[in-house]
């Protein structure tokens, strides 16, 4: 049986990071399922009692979502339309049980190709804040997740927050769509998250389109984003997407769906997400 440490402030947390390799625990919704029928022997550093790691904070230039903020916290938070996509993703994470316990930081660190939070956060242009015993650093989310269950997190380092820069435009809209083989508790076949920033003429001045579950790491579709820039927002945005735009996707054949299906469905879900965001009031 291992040690278990549950610091209650940042100083103690940082001190703990100095003292050697540990397994980091937050909501437990990935930790325990990976250990069914196995002894629980890890040395644990439990982040959930550090108040600074939990909650959503607005600053002049950004929002900061603490790593142990739960999906329910996000759903219930009073946030601008920019976050509708993230909230929709939060509602798709497991049942209420998992939304009440699972954390946004844990979702990123677990680095599942089908993590519900990742496409939405990519569409928000999120950065992640990493802390070790010496320093904090801020890196782009795209640089943080390296592969299936692989991140840049080093031993002695924790993810403390997700930082979302405020958009330039006054008008921002976001959507998130998830395709699964059943209604609740389902691992995604395809996820699409889109954020559009528009000017006073409803022309797109910035946009981010991210697709999940169709590559080892969820990714943005740069070519599509370029095409969308300068377009006037309408449901006809859906007609702009082509097969070439999804060429970077590399889905796999697995028990849930074939590779061909995922590509085909990704195109459809992107079109629908564009139609939806194009017709939002």
């Amino acid at each position: 049986m291992g040690s278990y440490y549950r610091p209650t402030n940042m100083t103690d947390l940082q001190a703990a990071l100095r003292s050697g390799p540990v397994h980091i625990l937050a909501g437990g919704t990935d930790f325990y399922p990976a250990r069914v029928g196995r002894p629980l022997i890890e040395d644990i550093l439990d982040l959930t009692a550090v108040p600074e790691l939990c909650g959503i904070e607005e600053t002049a230039w950004s929002w900061r979502i603490g790593a142990t903020t739960t999906w329910t916290d996000i759903i219930r938070a009073d946030l601008p339309p920019l976050y509708e996509g993230l909230k929709a993703a939060a509602r798709e994470v497991g049942g209420w049980q998992v939304q009440n316990a699972g954390t946004i930081g844990g979702n990123l660190c677990n680095a599942s190709p089908a993590a519900d939070g990742v496409p939405a956060l990519l569409s928000l242009g999120a950065e992640v804040e990493l802390l070790d015993s010496e320093k904090r650093e801020l890196i782009d989310l795209t640089d943080f997740i390296l592969g299936n269950r692989k991140t840049r997190l080093q031993p002695g380092q924790v993810l403390t927050a997700i930082v979302i820069p405020k958009p330039r435009a006054a008008t921002v809209r976001s959507v998130f769509l998830k395709l699964g083989a059943r209604k609740y508790l389902v691992i995604s076949l395809v996820m699409v998250a889109i954020v559009l920033e528009t000017d006073k003429d409803d022309r797109i001045i910035a946009c981010r389109v991210a697709v999940g579950a169709c590559s080892e790491v969820a990714m943005r579709l740069g070519a599509l984003e370029e095409v969308l820039l300068g377009e006037k927002r309408s449901s006809e945005l859906q007609d702009l997407v082509t097969r070439a735009h999804i060429a970077p996707l590399t889905p796999i054949d697995d028990i849930r769906a074939s590779k061909a299906y995922r590509l085909d469905a990704a195109l459809t879900v992107i079109r629908r997400a564009l139609a939806q965001i194009g017709s939002l009031s």
């Binding site: 049986m1 909501g27 437990g28 029928g37 329910t72 209420w96 609740y184 389902v186 074939s258 061909a260």
Partner: protein, 911 residues
């Protein structure tokens, strides 16, 4: 490392010394004995362990004990005080929202979290809040109805018990968390047992010497191997005992049992195969029926040439001639997959030696077969084994085979302590039986008037590594393969082949659901070819009383398919019109609607085999009526139904009944809970027992047949016309069970063995049903949403209409899973997030139409309904998909990517 945990549970403060990383669910169950919180998966996939933490619903299996510190936890035991029911629990009882009851605590806690913030939720809000809890029994509809009716009134139930929707007598225990399932009543001082299983589908096995490991490992008492098993084989049929309790020289599927560790929980959990002198040498595995049949295929069992376990055949009339003269022919090939039972309660139990006997407490569908199997494995007499079934958290056929029982019995006889074993979800899924995958080829022929002249079918089943119930499937399918129709010429062959896959066993319908997918597609093909309505062609051919079945059995009565179809007809017309309107109104929409129909029949009880049940009932000195009930209630409701039947036979109220369920020392053999037989067979035995008890009382009172009985405490009043006689039960001599009057009843439905052509009387009666489905298919994504099912079932007589509805709704849910999402793949879907079963959000509105065409042999006219609910669902859904999309479905499950591929194929063909 152990720390003190301070927290509040159900209003009471606790300070416990527990390792901080312990799952909260284990703290509640093991430290506080609050076993109302269930463990279904330990992975957050099923929600059975849902509790409230500071008012929020949370999976206790994924919460570290340390994170519960200082918080307030509410479990199912905390919903109401002293065994009472709160309004939510009362609504569950009133609506029949709990069947096996294993998900009920989780459902109740999830609903409680919703009701705390919203006392008047909508249906959609209920679904969102309960979406994290899986139920495998109910189809969710009655659960939703219950949550929407908290505080509602109960209808008054008076008069006869039969025909009344009486609440389950075991309902309150299931809804308060008091009920004890396989894992809930394990003695604190027991040893634990864990089976280590093969990760390979086929391998040679070499076992070394385990002495060192045992010496070196603190808390490890023994490593049991095949050498410790007196008779190392088990299986359903006397001729099919081919599954080793523990492997000898080889393993035949991923999940096959190798050795068993016995010791403390910590010790057995810490060891894995890599720590033991067990050598596996991988061999080529046989996967699928085609590989099993192939020339030169590895042979799984000696004497089973071409890996053929068994072949069953039904041959009536002259198919060759009929085909020559028929005007229309249709044919097809169909394929289905392994399907997992996915009962929410994993296998669990414990055993102890009592003198020279072994006593087994385990979750099961059959106490008597377990007793026989344990005695055979131990090579002792039947009198040396006592089986006391625990409550069963879902079975559906999967708990007809023994699981923990043989090895626990062996271990219990060896140690001076009780020994317990609980499967984790992946072990349960890897090791337990599955629905047989089927490859079915068929050809149906008819005249231009649409009347069937012949039906041909060859159904090859993948029976996996061991025989299990393979022979039943191979025997039952030929009888049913031509469908619920009168067909003069029939030739159906069912074959079961061994492969290196999990043993296929019994699963709600024994192969008939697979066959129904084929025969119903044939009916749709014929309707299309002849331009007939799909319901009409079924009505035209529906088998009726007086007709002969494929086995040459003349149906004497209770053949209610025409009545089912008539009841569906107005709904059918409406769903078809609605689909056409919807599609015409939205010609450009990506969603298309369609309607489909499936019909079925199902022989009640064993196929052409003796199938008896004996029930006893007595009345005690205190006026309690005791049913000595050997039938195991796995949630289907026999604990309610049998007292209802018996009560009306005696002439006393069902509320006065208590029962002893399944204890082999105290009840007679009522057979297994399988083949939809308990209401029909044990129900008839309960009726006879009740009548005998009544006659004993009437004789004592010297009263006539028509006398009226009334119980008032220990006074039994017998009113015969003007004469009133009061019997003081307390004053009469009681037998060893405390009974002063007794009755016994026995029933074995009349059947005959089938001859070489499969001709004879395999079943005494048949259930009939038809269901219609309305679906919406997303043509671009290949996803299917079932909007509505209307189900009409001829059940002979509904003893308890609410429970009949519950059985059908639950069957529909499993049929929907079979049709659209369920596919077990060894090594890939051994958990409940990769293996998908329907959630509360996947179920359509279900309307149940109960048809009562009485069965003269059955108790008060009743026959079974357990399996029929599932059989027509997949055919109806597939018919509706075809109606919506034009795609003729030949593969189950119709996953989105498969349907999308078919849609694209058609679009290309048309374009």
């Amino acid at each position: 490392m152990t720390e003190f945990l301070d927290f509040i549970v159900n209003g009471q403060s606790h300070r416990l010394a527990v390792p901080p990383l312990t799952r909260l669910v284990d703290v509640l169950r093991d430290f506080l004995s609050l076993t109302g919180t269930k463990i279904g998966c330990n992975a957050g996939d099923c929600g059975a362990c849902t509790v409230l933490i500071d008012g929020k619903q949370t999976c206790a299996c994924m919460t570290a004990a340390a994170q519960a510190a200082g918080r307030e936890i509410v479990t199912v035991e905390g919903l109401a005080a002293d065994g009472a029911l709160n309004e939510l629990q009362a609504a569950f009882l009133r609506h029949g929202a709990s069947q096996c009851g294993i998900c009920s605590p989780g459902m109740l806690m999830a609903a409680s979290s919703l009701l705390r913030q919203n006392q008047t939720p909508t249906k959609a809000e209920v679904e969102d809040a309960l979406g994290g809890v899986l139920c495998r029994c109910t189809g969710y509809q009655k659960i939703i109805e219950a949550v929407l009716d908290v505080g509602g009134g109960a209808p008054e139930i008076t008069g006869k018990a039969v025909g009344a929707s009486l609440p389950k007598p075991d309902g309150p225990a299931k809804l308060t968390g008091v009920e004890k399932y396989g894992a809930d009543d394990i003695p604190a001082d027991c040893l634990w047992l864990r089976i280590l299983r093969s990760p390979l589908a086929s391998a040679d096995v070499e076992l070394g010497d385990f002495t060192d490991v045992i010496e070196r490992t603190a808390g490890l008492e023994a490593v049991l191997t095949h050498k410790d098993i007196p008779f190392n084989r088990f299986g359903i049929y006397a001729t099919g005992k081919d599954q080793p309790v523990l492997a000898e020289t080889c393993v035949r599927y991923r999940g096959d049992a190798l050795v068993a560790l016995v010791g403390t929980k910590e010790a057995i959990l810490a060891l894995g195969l890599a720590d033991l002198p067990v050598t596996l040498t991988e061999k080529p595995a046989v996967t699928g029926v085609a590989a099993a049949k192939a020339v030169g295929a590895p042979q799984l069992h000696e004497g089973k040439l071409h890996n053929l376990l068994i072949e069953g055949i039904v041959d009536k009339g002259n198919v060759f001639e009929a085909v020559k003269h028929a005007e229309v022919h249709v044919e097809g090939r169909f394929e289905t997959s392994f399907v997992e039972h996915a009962y929410i309660e994993p296998e669990a139990g414990w055993a102890q030696r009592v003198g020279d006997r072994v006593e087994m407490h385990a979750t099961t569908q059959t106490a008597s077969m377990d007793r026989d199997e344990i005695a055979n494995v131990l090579q002792v007499g039947l009198d040396k084994v006592r089986v006391i079934p625990t409550a069963c958290g879902g079975g559906f056929g999967g708990k007809l085979d023994v699981s923990v029982q043989p090895i626990l019995a062996v271990a219990a006889m060896r140690f001076d302590k009780p020994v317990a074993c609980i499967y984790e979800r992946p072990e349960s899924m890897a090791s337990s039986t599955k629905r047989h995958p089927a490859l079915i080829s068929c050809r149906f022929s008819a005249g231009s008037d649409g009347k069937l002249s012949s039906a041909e079918m060859t159904a090859d089943f993948d029976t996996g590594a061991y025989a299990s119930w393979g022979p039943t499937v191979a025997g039952r399918v030929p009888v049913h393969g031509s469908g619920p129709y009168f067909v003069p010429n029939v030739r159906v062959t069912g074959r079961a082949y061994y492969t290196n896959s999990p043993p296929s066993g019994a699963f709600r319908g024994f192969g008939v659901p697979q066959a129904a997918i084929a025969h119903e597609a044939m009916m749709d093909d014929l309707a299309e070819k002849l331009g007939l309505d799909r319901l009409e062609i079924r009505r035209l051919n529906a088998i009726r009383a007086g007709d002969e079945t494929a086995t040459g059995q003349r149906l004497e009565a209770s053949a209610g398919l025409p009545a089912c179809l008539d009841a569906l007809a107005p709904h059918w017309r409406k769903l078809n019109e609605d689909a056409v309107h919807f599609n015409n109104r939205n010609p450009q929409a990506s969603v298309r609607r369609g309607a489909g129909i499936g019909a079925m029949w199902y022989g009640i009880g064993n196929t052409a085999l003796t199938n008896p049940s004996t029930m006893e009932v007595g009345i005690g000195g205190d006026g309690t009526i005791m049913l000595f009930n050997g039938a195991v209630d796995i949630g289907q409701g026999s604990n309610t139904i049998l007292p209802q039947i018996c009560a009306d036979a005696v002439g006393l109220p069902a509320e006065k009944f208590r029962y002893i369920m399944g204890d082999t020392d105290r009840t007679k053999d009522a057979g297994k809970t399988s083949a939809s037989r308990q209401t029909f067979v044990s129900g008839k035995a309960a009726e006879f027992a009740g009548l005998e008890l009544r006659h004993a009382i009437l004789r004592h009172a010297n009263a006539g047949e028509e006398a009226h009985l009334e119980l008032d405490g220990h006074i039994l009043r017998v009113t015969d016309g003007e004469a009133v006689r009061e019997i003081d039960l307390a004053a009469l001599p009681a037998d060893a069970d405390g009974m002063v009057f007794r009755g016994a009843g026995h029933f074995d439905p009349p059947t005959t063995p089938l001859d070489a052509n499969g001709q004879g009387v395999p079943y005494a009666t048949y259930g009939f049903a038809a269901q219609i489905a309305e679906v919406e298919v997303d043509m671009e994504l290949g996803t299917t949403r079932v909007l509505r099912i209307v189900a009409a079932h001829d059940v002979g007589r509904a003893i308890n209409p609410q429970q009949v509805e519950g059985q059908i709704q639950g069957g529909i849910a499993q049929g929907l899973g079979l049709a659209l999402m369920e596919e077990y793949i060894p090594g890939k879907t051994e958990n409940l997030h990769d293996y998908l079963i329907p959630t509360i959000g996947d179920m359509p509105r279900m309307d149940i139409l109960i048809i009562e065409d009485p069965e003269p042999l059955g108790p008060f006219g009743a026959k079974g309904v357990g399996e029929p609910g599932l059989v027509p669902t997949a055919p109806a859904i597939f018919g509706a998909i075809r109606h919506a999309t034009g795609v003729r479905v030949t593969r189950a499950p119709m996953l989105p990517h498969r349907l999308r591929a078919e849609i694209r194929k058609r679009e290309k063909g048309n374009g």
